[in-house]
């Protein structure tokens, strides 16, 4: 029956199984790419080895100049955010992501933001909602790919590119997934994750993308730490601002948030912590907020100071404060089935630790001799960082190259080659997710899987379609046999329906448009499904309302009550009136009848709770009609 407000649950088995299947297929592609990369690496290595041998060399070249190890700050931020991206990618594998992310995470995050933010976010939500399987799978591989890329490409162009990829994807997630981190929402607070966890991923990516010499002086570290300090001071002001709901315990924002987080499905231990803290906040909300304000202001002031001990003290205090907030307010961030990341505290702490290291732990240049013994610790420097005539780093401890003085190809080291191939493989992982998503994103119609998830897969049949002769919207008699030679999409619509029928009519209209020239071989037929309002005036007005009047292959048929009842019965359509102001209840069904007049498919047409499902049904109907064209 129409309009009963059915919605898909996040664990819908059709969607979940399609998601897992997509992940599996993409994993196979990735393994294939990895195998090709491994083979490619071996082939190149062999060719290179032969070339070197021809030049009388016994090993791959070693770096010809002194190098510095990767700055500790850069290594920390790179590996730290690589780990976070990988964790986020793994979290995206959760079954609830395709359907639950937008409704459970994105839309609530944008709910209190201004309408323009919601508008921006909704454009992303629409793409995700239209293509939930591709989108969720894309998020998995893009995030895993970026994480792996950051790990396997420690230095050089590949590494900086990984940083840029991290910034790019981070911005996408920050805008569309986190609604700009809620910075435009009225309840903005550091405690709930402002200015958005992924903004710190962007900062991390930006640091990795910087030229390495940026880490050679304390300037970068000072900027990071001071910016962090100013941010925390600002957050302290915001936290202290009266009238924002943080000074009150009972019914205050903080206790509401904590109580809400306690409702998230999670181990009992965590929920009991949250419950206890929530009770504490309810009882002592003013005191808790005072503590937070003082702590944020204190830490901010320490970070703004230039003295190492004070900054270190501030950093330690911040890490402790962050961990407390992470556990007691943010509830670790990734629980509940649609948690996408560990929220803001860990990445923010990582950025500040990076700032501290960049400020006080500057890299020390290595001499050539030291470099040989530094071995694996001195990770590879890319082509861009190598000076003219320098070898592009090879395995530590190998004999120095002496005769490799040709083009860059002759100076490629084995480890550089290996890491470049690994970076290419990581990029391939990103692309395996991003490419199908990009293709899907330009398709404004939702995938048919949504309609199938809601209504089940079309029921294939092969029986003669029950004949009928009725009157079209122009008063002309039309029989099913007249339409022989065309594929017929048949449905049942109430001309005075307020909800589903107009949507179903739009699905048919959309399908007609998407058929293009092939629509000449297809007729779209609706039979009135209202025993009271069934005159031609109503079918014609319905057509007017739905913009169907210009479709030459659209027939909205009606007739006497007995004639209609016969058609309803023959096609198994139930129609009944409901008392006291409700619309007529009828089955939402459609049938595909082939050009020989045989009924081939029966589909449930319930357009679902949102517009997304309507275009999804149109995709499904299109694919079903397509099967019987030219047969």
């Amino acid at each position: 029956m129409p309009g009963m407000g059915r919605a898909l649950q996040t664990g819908n088995p059709t969607i979940v199984s399609s998601f897992h299947s997509a992940l599996l297929h993409q994993l196979l592609i990735i393994l294939l790419v990895a195998a090709v990369c491994a083979i490619g690496f071996n082939v190149v290595r062999t060719i290179q080895w032969r070339r070197l041998k021809e030049h009388g060399l016994l090993s791959f070249p070693l770096p010809a100049r002194a190098a510095t190890p990767e700055p500790l700050a850069r290594r920390v931020v790179r590996i730290g955010f690589a780990a976070l991206w990988i964790l986020d990618g793994l979290l995206q594998i959760q079954s609830g992501m395709p359907l639950g992310l937008t409704s459970g995470v994105v839309q609530p995050a944008a709910a209190t933001s201004p309408s323009w933010v919601q508008h921006v976010v909704n454009s992303g939500v629409t793409i995700w909602s239209n293509h939930p399987v591709e989108a969720a799978a894309a998020a998995v591989w893009i995030q895993l790919g970026i994480g792996i890329w950051l790990l396997v490409a420690p230095r050089g162009r590949w590494s900086r590119l990984a940083g840029l990829a991290s910034v790019g994807w981070g911005l996408v997630v920050w805008v569309f997934g986190e609604a700009f981190g809620g910075i435009f929402a009225p309840g903005l607070t550091w405690m709930f994750g402002a200015p958005g966890a992924v903004l710190f991923y962007c900062v991390g990516g930006l640091l990795v993308a910087l030229p390495e010499h940026a880490f050679s002086t304390p300037r970068l570290g000072r900027i990071i730490v001071r910016a962090g300090g100013i941010f925390l001071l600002g957050m302290a002001v915001l936290q202290a601002w009266p009238g924002r709901g943080y000074w009150q315990g009972r019914d205050g924002n903080l206790s509401a948030m904590v109580q809400q987080m306690a409702q998230t499905p999670q181990p009992h231990l965590f929920s009991s912590w949250l419950g206890s803290f929530g009770s504490f906040v309810q009882a002592h909300g003013w005191g808790v907020n005072l503590f937070v304000v003082i702590a944020l202001a204190g830490v901010g002031a320490l970070l703004v100071s230039r003295r190492r001990e004070l900054v270190r003290g501030g950093l330690v205090a911040f890490v402790v404060l962050s961990l407390a907030d992470w556990m007691l307010v943010e509830d670790l961030g990734f629980l509940g089935g649609v948690g996408t990341d560990p929220n803001s505290m860990i990445p923010m702490a990582l950025v500040l630790v990076t700032g501290y290291l960049a400020m006080f732990r500057l890299p020390v240049p290595l001499s050539v001799g030291e470099e040989a013994t530094a071995g694996a610790a001195a990770t590879e420097q890319g082509a861009s960082d190598a000076g003219p005539g320098a070898a592009i780093e090879g395995p530590a401890g190998a004999a120095p190259a002496t005769g490799a003085s040709g083009g860059w190809w002759d100076r490629v080291t084995l480890s550089y080659l290996l890491r470049s191939v690994a970076a290419v493989a990581a990029l391939a992982v990103v692309l395996v997710g991003a490419a199908p998503m990009a293709v899907a994103a330009v398709n404004r119609n939702a995938d048919p899987i949504l309609s199938e998830a809601l209504n089940g897969t079309p029921n294939a049949v092969d029986t003669p379609a029950p004949p009928f002769t009725l009157t079209d919207q122009y008063g002309q008699s039309v029989s099913l046999s007249q339409l022989r030679g065309h594929v017929v999409a048949l449905t049942f619509l109430d001309p005075v329906c307020t909800s589903d029928c107009p949507l179903i009519a739009q699905e048919f209209r959309q399908t007609d448009q998407r058929l293009g020239d092939q629509s000449r071989q297809v007729d779209f037929v609706a039979v009135v499904a209202n025993p009271i309002y069934r005159s031609v005036s109503f079918t014609r007005e319905f057509d007017q309302q739905e913009g169907l009047t210009h479709l030459t292959n659209w027939y909205y048929l009606t007739g006497s009550l007995s004639a209609l009842e016969r058609v309803w019965a023959n096609y198994g359509v139930e129609v009944s009136t409901v008392a006291n102001g409700a619309m007529v209840a009828h089955s939402d069904l459609a049938f595909v009848i082939d050009s020989l007049g045989r009924q081939r498919d029966a589909l449930i047409t319930d357009p679902g709770p949102t517009q997304v499902f309507a275009s999804s049904f149109s995709s499904l109907l299109l694919s079903q009609i397509d099967q019987f064209l030219n047969t």
């Binding site: 009225p186 903005l188 005159s535």
Partner: protein, 391 residues
């Protein structure tokens, strides 16, 4: 630049950054939400003919438009026993507009569009709501209590910015007059919307329009339109006006006008003289935060309105002398009023009923006692509603 200068400049930059950052956070802190817009709902209304009393009431989850199911109730003469006679076949969560025939026993109900439906199916009964026949109206009926009228030889309906007419012997509707035509006819009225239509037993057509400075009451005779409404008296002379109700019967033609001047609002009861001119009652001031919730018009010209605010509701009735009298406070949560026709065998006057809805589906009817001293419970009706069937 000296080291001192550099330090001073750096300190200045830092102060600037801090200032900008603090300003940003301050703006964020001060930002707030926005108020919700009011919706334009048809008022619950009642009409009375010598044969029946009809009332349109909202029931169900009235906080949710989709699950507000409007009901049409009818009472026989002399009885405060109401029965639900809502016509079937269309979702009525957009609202209902009812019009009783002035000279016939027919009653027409129009379904206001809701959700994706953008035109108004009609339903007509000639047997006091026992059976209904569908009727067609091209377009969306205006969301006004008297947007439909039925009289000798034709029916009228306000659709958009036009009054449509349908001859009794034809299924087709045609345009009778447009808002633009009325604006040209009476520029002094500056009509902005069509509010109400009525037909007198002699077939005269009346149209009410929202105006500025005048009462927007027009009539047509011999195909010619004229403005009958005059400026409101006294301090309301320059007010913006709307015609909330417009009803004609054998004995009386009655209207209710709202007047708005700045933040002040008032209601006027209007009665038409034999010459066609309109006489306005004393104003009934509507306090700040209060709105007219419902209205009931008796075929003899008696008129009552239900005015509600957050705190309470009140019922006011116009007296024959043209002044307003406040009746005993209606039951808490009253949603509608209706006059009940006296039984033909009795010599009694019309009596007034008030309606409350409890839990969305329990309708309670209260009758004003003959002395007008209090409201007494008269009937309780259970109206099962199919929630979700219109969403």
């Amino acid at each position: 630049m000296s080291l001192q200068h550099r330090r001073r400049a750096a300190a200045g930059r830092l102060r600037g950054i801090v200032l900008v950052a603090f300003s940003f956070f301050a703006v964020l802190a001060a930002s707030g939400g926005s108020a919700a817009a009011a919706s334009d709902l048809p008022l619950p209304s009642a009409i009375e003919t010598p044969a029946d009393s009809w009332v349109v009431l909202p029931m169900g989850q009235t906080g949710s438009l989709v699950n507000t199911f409007w009901q049409l109730l009818r009472a026989a003469p002399g009885s405060s026993q109401w029965s639900v006679v809502t016509p079937q076949g269309v979702a009525d969560n957009g609202g209902l507009v009812a019009a009783a025939g002035v000279t016939t026993a027919s009653t027409t109900v129009g379904f206001l569009p809701s959700q994706s439906l953008r035109f108004s199916p009609l339903s007509v009964t000639t047997d006091a709501g026992r059976t209904w026949s569908p009727a067609f109206l091209p377009g969306a009926l205006a969301a006004r209590p008297d947007a439909l009228a039925s009289g000798p030889g034709r029916s009228l309906a306000i659709v958009g910015s036009a009054v449509l007419q349908q001859p009794s012997n034809s299924p087709s509707w045609s345009r009778l007059v447009t808002l633009a035509a009325l604006q040209r006819l009476a520029p002094q009225c500056a009509a902005t919307a069509l509010d109400a239509v009525a037909m007198t037993p002699t077939g005269a057509i009346l149209v009410g329009a929202a105006c500025h400075g005048h009462l927007g009451l027009f009539s047509a005779s011999g195909g010619k339109w004229r403005l009958d409404g005059a400026p409101l008296p006294g301090e309301w002379r320059d007010a913006s006006t709307t015609i909330l109700r417009l009803q004609a019967s054998n004995t009386q033609t009655t209207a209710v006008a709202t007047a708005t001047k700045g933040s002040h609002h008032a209601l006027f009861a209007l009665s038409q003289s034999r010459s066609g001119g309109w006489h306005a009652s004393a104003p009934l001031p509507i306090g700040a935060g209060a709105t007219v919730l419902a209205s009931a018009v008796d075929f003899g010209g008696a008129l009552s309105v239900l005015v509600g605010s957050k705190e309470s509701e009140s019922v006011d009735q116009i007296t024959p002398a043209g002044s307003w009298v406040t009746l005993p406070a209606p039951p808490r949560g009253a949603v509608g009023l209706a006059w009940v026709v006296p039984a033909t065998t009795s010599f009694g006057a019309t009596t007034l009923d008030a309606f409350t809805v409890v839990g969305g589906t329990d309708l309670h009817v209260f009758a004003l006692t003959p002395g007008g001293g209090k409201w007494a419970g008269a009937q309780t009706l259970q109206v099962p509603l199919p929630y979700g069937s219109s969403s």
